[in-house]
Symmetry: D2
């Protein structure tokens, strides 16, 4: 199971007039956890590009359960749940102390050839190898 | 039909290392179109709060069809599609010249009593009146 | 005189808990006006890079005179005030209606060779030509 | 000496088309270090407001020495250098490993009465007490 968790403190500049984190900022928290997860399997954006692919986000869904407040310590978890044809990652943001869920969501990324710009209908071998999957067996 | 459209130019600081607008910034473009739409019915965040409610986003979905580039002129449309029990808004971001779709999405907001913090299961009368709907008839 | 002016509306996501635009967001407003100014002389970031230079910001100063509020219509002016050895741009953000000054500032950019990464002690000819200045005469 | 230091990793969404952190994002890094410093003396924005003052930033200066890159681990230091009549904070952002300076700067904040909105020409007693300074002696 490929997964990463990061802890963050909600910064002042992410909090809106109503005293809660503006919903759009959670995309950044997802990004930070996603990058930490990709680093773990040595497949971050630099490696992706160097090995011939970019992986644009094609779909993002977020459910806001409870608002986060200024200075609140939060935990952001990213977990890879699909990898064969595309990359689907699930997210959970929760309070670092009470573990109450704040935001749930997922993102879907598709592999695109960095040179031709064409979308790939199966995950590139270099990515599957990072996951310990032998491409030939698939 | 309640709807608003705004035109924006993708600013330099929204563009990532891959030369495309980072996906999370589209939340801001949605916000700008949503606020323009709410202004049209005289029910922006200041009016909401002054009349006793806040409307946190509880759900957001985005589908990224084509990447936007630096300096690209884009059009963002927000359209109210549900209002009785909650506020559901559909979005379409497209190239301002070619009209090619770039991003599609929707958001769902729920009315929350600004004093008690309790979620309201039906839209407050003050909002429905803004839409020209007589609350008693509903 | 090289100068550009843009009009913006302070968006909801730029406003903090105290009900005013968070000071760091003015960097974005400066950026938008700077890009509009550079577009006017056909020397935007794409042209810079295509003609061999990048121009990182090396110095930025901002003085906050009056806070901007949510939905306030503001005007951002950028004006080129130095060009021979470096690019110095002055900014003024004011209320679009009352013309009251909100923020003043300036930025300094230095030309860096895009290939070698070395800083250039004089402005590249391609930039001066955009300004209508014959490099040889300087 | 009142001072705080935080460590951050430059996130993907802060990096521009040229592969370096966009200069405006350093305002956020300054903010995070400033808040950490204010927390240390139990005088964060919530305490400020609860004790009758807001402290808007009136001046900000930044000097960009070396660009920060994606995924670079950086250290941000904030240090209180003036407190009697206003709050002046100096910042240093450096590479967390090599300690090379990346950005230097300072901010100046003025105390404003939260009720009347009037600027205070001396620092409020409640702030000086946090610093262990007896107001009467000043």
């Amino acid at each position: 199971m490929i997964r990463a968790e990061v802890e963050l403190i909600v910064p002042f500049h992410d909090v809106d007039m109503l005293g809660i984190a503006w919903h759009g900022h959670y995309c950044k928290y997802f990004e930070i956890a996603r990058c930490a997860m990709l680093d773990k399997i040595d497949y971050n954006y630099m490696v992706m590009k160097a090995t011939g692919y970019v992986w644009p986000i094609v779909d993002l869904q977020m459910r806001f359960v409870r608002p986060a407040k200024f200075n609140q310590r939060i935990r952001v978890r990213a977990e890879l749940v699909e990898w064969e044809y595309r990359m689907k990652i699930k997210y959970l943001i929760s309070d670092a102390e009470t573990h109450e869920a704040l935001v749930k969501g997922h993102s879907i990324q598709a592999a695109v050839d960095a040179v031709t710009g064409e979308m790939s209908y199966a995950s590139p071998a270099v990515f599957l190898q990072r996951l310990g999957i032998d491409d030939d067996v698939c």
